[in-house]
Amino acid sequence: MPKIKKKRVGFRIDMTPMVDVAMLLLTFFMMTTQFRPEEATAIDLPASNAPFKMPETDIMVVTVNKEGRVFLGVDSQVLRAQLFGEANKLRPSMEVDRKSLHDLLIQARISNPKLRTLVKGDKEAPYGPLEDILDILRQVKITRFNLVTELEKA
């Protein structure tokens, strides 16, 4: 008897639709993506029900990390070069002490009066430095500012 050779069924799947969808998603993500802004320190935001979205441009961020160290960052490189010197313009934020924070805030506001101030504290940060910052803000007459929080998960 002749050997019955099993015919291998070569099958092909048409991948075209899948690839189309993948490309579509890729374009979508490429268009909408916003990279996480660089941080000098890791900040774990506290949760609140505050309704406002964080502004993106013309911002000045005073960051307080877990240990209570204070950092100041601005979003434009030009202003960063002005405040912290040409060498530091690529760094997102610089550690500052209370005294220089006062002067830098004034300087920044003079360079760009539209700057909005954000205070970003780690949820485990001690309240002491925050109180000092609020005090400094009052001294430099920044009476309107925003505290950055995360939306509370209900």
Binding site: R12, I13, D14, M15, T16, V19, A22, M23, L25, L26, F29, M30, T32, T33, Q34, F35, R36, L45, P46, A47, S48, N49, A50, P51, F52, K53, M54, P55, V64, L118, G121, D122, K123, E124, A125, P126, Y127, G128, L130, E131, L134, L137, R138, K141, T143, R144, F145, N146, L147, V148, T149, E150, L151, E152
Partner: protein, 168 residues
Amino acid sequence: MSAVESGGDAKSHGRGGKKHKKKRRLSIRIDMTPMVDVAFLLLTFFMLTTYFSKPQTMELNLPPDEKSQVEVAESNLLTLRVAPDGFVFWNVGTEPAHYIEMKELKKFLEDKNKENPKLITLLKIDREGKYRMMIKMMDVINIAKVTRFSLAPMNEYDKRQIQKARAA
């Protein structure tokens, strides 16, 4: 996988007449696999790095000048003091302080403000406390729609008040 055929099928196998020599159409197949691989790689990359939830912010207005003191009747002043361990104590005027649970705070504030529309809330947080406590308190104050409130530093007197309330 995902190959694109162009140029149609190679039909021109007809080795017919010598007169009409059909030009042989070449069927081109491009192997798209590497491109698709790269596309998927990029897709995963963008999916992982993108983030949608933008942080929320809480707007805060401070009085412009510290010197501009406002006289407030004692009975209109509600002081909330937050101890370093997160316990909240309240009192009106110079009455002794009482402990209150975080959960009840919202209702408490609403009731108090309904009782006395002129009430001013003063929030004092211990410097040793956590920033989280401040945000929590401000959140409750915002939710309870208390618009007349201010932040003040905690002094020794406040600490003694908390001590007394704890002992009681």
